[in-house]
C-alpha cells in the first residue's frame, strides 16, 4: 500500500465516476447543476458572513437556509423523477414537479417573512 497505488486509485476513481456520471439522463444533469449552483451561493454567503459579521442573524439564516432548502428540495425532485428508483415508478413527473414548486413557494414565503 504505497502512495503510488493510492494515487492510481484516486485517478481510477475519478475516471470511473466521470464515465458513470456521463451516462445519466439530461434532465437529471440539469437538476444537479441547479443543486450545485445553490450550494455555491450558500458558500458565498457563509464566506461573506465570516468577513462582515453575522448581524442581523435572521437575515443570514434566511439567506443560507433558502439556498440549502432549495438545494435539498431539488435533490428530492431528482430522486422522485429518476427512472431508476423503483419506489417512485408510479409517481408522474408532473406531480413531482408540482410538489417541488409548492414546497419552494412555501420556503420562499417564509424566507421573505424571516428576512427582516
Amino acid at each position: 500500500m504505497g502512495r503510488a497505488s493510492s494515487k492510481e486509485d484516486a485517478g481510477a476513481l475519478f475516471h470511473s465516476l466521470r464515465s458513470a456520471y456521463a451516462a445519466t439522463p439530461l434532465n437529471l444533469k440539469i437538476i444537479d447543476l441547479y443543486v450545485g449552483f445553490s450550494i455555491f451561493t450558500a458558500l458565498i454567503q457563509v464566506v461573506y458572513m465570516a468577513i462582515v459579521g453575522s448581524f442581523p442573524f435572521n437575515s443570514f439564516l434566511s439567506g443560507v437556509l433558502s439556498c440549502v432548502g432549495t438545494a435539498v428540495l431539488a435533490v428530492c425532485l431528482r430522486i422522485q423523477v429518476n427512472k431508476e428508483n423503483k419506489e417512485f415508478k408510479d409517481l408522474p413527473p408532473e406531480r413531482a414537479f408540482a410538489d417541488f414548486v409548492l414546497c419552494n413557494l412555501v420556503l420562499h414565503l417564509v424566507i421573505m417573512n424571516f428576512l427582516g
Binding site: L61, V72, E87, F88, V106
Partner: protein, 724 residues
Amino acid sequence: MATMPILPNMPVLDLVKSFKLKTKQQELLIRVSILCLVYVLAFITRLFSVLRYESMIHEFDPYFNYRTTLYLTQNGFYDFWNWFDYESWYPLGRIVGGTLYPGLMVTAALIYRILHFLRFAVHIREVCVLTAPFFASNTTLVAYFFGKEIWDTGAGLVAAILIAICPGYISRSVAGSYDNEGVAIFALLFTFYLFVKAVNTGSLAWSLASAFGYFYMVSAWGGYVFIINLIPLYVLVLLITGRYSMRLYVAYNCMYVLGMLLAMQIRFVGFQHVQSGEHMAAMGVFFLLQVFYFLDWVKHMLSDTKLFQAFLRITVTCAVAVGAIALGLGMLSGYISPWTGRFYSLLDPTYAKDHIPIIASVSEHQPTAWSSFMFDFHILLFLFPAGLYFCFKRLSDATIFIVMYGLTSMYFAGVMVRLILVATPAVCLVSAIAVSATVKNLTVLLRSKNKGVQTGSTKGSSSSKASSKALLDQSQPFQKNGAIALLFGAFYLLSKYATHCTWVTSEAYSSPSIVLAARGAHGSRVIFDDYREAYFWLRQNTPPDAKVMSWWDYGYQITAMGNRTVIVDNNTWNNTHIATVGRAMSSYEDEAIEIMRSLDVDYVLVVFGGVTGYSSDDINKFLWMVRIGGGVFPVIKEPDYLVNGEYRVDKGAAPKMLNCLMYKLCYYRFGEMLTEYGKPPGYDRARGVEIGNKDIKLEHLEEAFTTSNWIVRIYKVKPPNNRW
C-alpha cells in the same frame, strides 16, 4: 364495545340488507357512526366540572392564557405580538409577546372570530373553557387515521376509543383547563401522523404538511423538543437497521428544513434550532443523511467495489473530522448552548433538586409513582407490552416509529409525572394494536368454524382476508369455546376500562382548583369559593395601581381576576425576584418591611388552610420559600426554621419560625378561633396541632380582608409613621 365490523349481528344485518347495501358500504357506515359517537364521547366526558360548578377557567396557568387571549381579541394580533405587560413582575415588567407560545391563544381567538362571524355571540371565556375538549375530539380522529396508517382500520377505531377516555389525557384537557397541552397533544399526534404518512408515501406534499404540523406544535408548547429529537432518532434507527429508503430522505429533509424555518418565526423559540444543544441532534442527522445518501449514490454509480471502498474511507474520515471539529468548536466557544435545566433534569433526574430548587418544587415535576401509572392507564399498562409484541412481529417503517415513540415517552413519563400526558397517545395506539389483533384472531377462529364444513366458497359475505387461511386445528377441539370465552374476557376488560376512566374523570380530574368542595357534616356538599371572593375584593376595594405581593403560585390569578399588579407570578423567569419575595416572607417583620417598601408593595396576600383543613396553603409551601430565598440570599438558612430537622408550627417550633412574617400573617387572630369541637382555640386543622404563638401583634401591616373560610388573607402595608 369496540371492534364490531366483522362479527355479523343478525337483526341489524337483515335491516341493512333491506336497504340493499353492500358489505363495503355497511363497513363504512359502521366505521363512520363509531367515529361520530367517539367524537361526541370525547367531548362530553370532559364536561363534569362545567356541569357541577360553572363554566370557569381552572388552575393557575390557564388564567394567564385567558388574560392574553382576552387581550388578543380586544386589541388585535399586532398589539398582542408586541405587548409589554407592566402589570406583572413589578418593577421589571414582562415582554409577553416574546415569552409565550401563541398557538393556543391564536387558536381560541380564531374559533371566537369564526363563531362571531356565524352570528353566535359567545363570550371569549366560553370559547377558552371548551377549546380543550374540542381539540381532544379532534385528537381521536387523528388517532384513528394514525392507527389506520400503522396497522389497519380496526386498530384505528380502537385507538380512537381508547384515547377518547384515557385519564392520562383527560387530566390536562378537561373543560376549563385552558392550557397549552390541550392543543399541543393534538398537534403532536398530528405531526407524527403526517410524518409517518410522508415516510410511507415518500411524497413532498405530505412532508410539507408535516412541516406545518410541526410549526403548529412549536407555536403551541415547549414540548416540541420531543418531536425534534424523536424524529432524528427514528431516522438514525432506520439507517442503522438498514431499513432506509429514498422515501425517508425526501420526508425527513423536507420536514426538517421547512419545519426549522417555520419554527424560527416564533419569537420565543428564536434561533434555538441552530444554537441550542437540544436541537443539535436534528442538525447532526440532517448532515449525516446527506453524507449517507451521497455515498449510496456514488456506490450505485461505481461498479467496482474496491474503488468505492477507497472513496468511502476518504469521505467518511473527512466528514467525521469536519463534524467533530464543528461540534467541538461550537460547544467550547459557548455558541451552542448546553441543554437547559428543564430538559437536562429529564436525563438526570437528580439535577434539579441540587441545582434549581424552583424546578424541583413544582409538584408536577416529581418522578412518577406506580400508582399514578395504574391510575392513568389502567388496562393499557399491560396491553402496551402485548402491542409491542405485535409490532415486532410485523415490522415496518410505521411500526418501528410507534415502538420508538412508545418506549421513549414511557421512559420520560417515568421521570416526570407531567409527561404521562405525552406517553398517552403512544400507549393508546400500541394497546389498540394488541386489542385489535387479538380480537381479530379470535373472531376469525369463530367464523372459520362456520366455513370449515363448506369446502369451496371463501368469497361471499366474509370480508376478512385471513379467513381463507384459518382452518380449524383438529387437535384442539374446544377452540371455538375458548375463543368465545376469551372474547367475553376481552370485552369485560374493556368495559372495566370505560368504568374506571369515567370514575377517574369524575372524581380526580374535574376539580377546578380555584373552587374547593368538601362534604359537610350531614353529607351535603360545601363549596369554598374563597379565592374568587378575595380576588374580587381586591378588584373592587383597592386603588387601581396597587401592587400585591404573594407567593408566585397566585400571580396569574391575581392579575387575571383581581386586575392588580403583582410582584412575581407563575412565569418564574426571574429567580432573584422570587427569592426576594421568599426572603421577605421568611424574615422578621422589621426586615420584611424594608424589602416591601423597596418593592412598593401595597398589599400582601397569603393563603391559609388552618380553619378548613386545606393542605395546599402557604404554611405547607413555606419551606420552599425558605429554600429558594436561601439559594440567593445566604442570610436565610433553612435549619433556623426547623427543630431537629422537623418542621413544626406548635409550641416546640423554632423561634425564627414563630416570628417570621409568613407565620404572623397566617395566624394573626387565629389564636382566639375555635376550629374544631373539643380542641383548644388556635387548633390548626391542616397541620393537626395547636399553634405555638397565639398572641401576634403586627406593627407595619394591618389586616385588610379575610375571606369567609379564612383561606385567603389580605394585609395592607401601612405607610411610614409621620415624623415630628
